[in-house]
Amino acid sequence: MRAAAADRTQTPSTIYLMCAAAWFLPGAGHLWLGRRQKGLVFLVSLTLMFAFGLWLEGRLFPFEISQPLVALAAIADVGIGLPYFVAKAIGVGAGRVVAITYEYGNTFVIAAGLLNMLVVLDVFDIAKGRK
């Protein structure tokens, strides 16, 4: 499973670039490191999870510092990277509070973002040679 890119010692700038790529496109960091199976699984599952949350009428929270929990949810939302910006650009993610699935949708969207942050940390560890 271990690929050549993962075994090589990476320069700090390359490591941070890999982390940025991993954040921006779920699975991209693992693909870069040659871990194709993991990268593809993350790309498909996290993107699907995020889309599923939006389909359940979940909301993409705004950055409101006056409401700390909303701001934290917004940070978690952005954790998914490109799908977040695509959703914003096409105008989905307004959320419908009265929908039965609203809270479920939020849970899917937030969890997808947080899981992608874990994936970024995994990329960092692999690139550093810790895994």
């Binding site: 699984v41 996290l46 699907l48 599923f52 359940l56 699935t101 479920y104 899917f108 969890a111 899981l115």
Partner: protein, 57 residues
């Protein structure tokens, strides 16, 4: 599919897949660990659901 149970199962599936692939390298181990995680999530969800059942909320 949008029942509480159905959504819990789908959520558990996504989280189990990501966690198992993150924490295991061998595909066979990933499947075993993912299945155990998935079963744990769903089983715990059902158990907590029944434990909360008598509460007057």
């Amino acid at each position: 599919m949008t029942s509480h149970f159905g959504l819990m199962v789908i959520f558990s599936l996504f989280v189990s897949v990501v966690f198992s692939v993150l924490s295991r390298d061998d595909p066979k181990e990933q499947i075993m660990f993912g299945a155990r995680l998935f079963g744990g999530f769903v089983g715990t969800g059902i158990l907590i659901g029944w434990l909360l059942y008598p509460l007057p909320l």
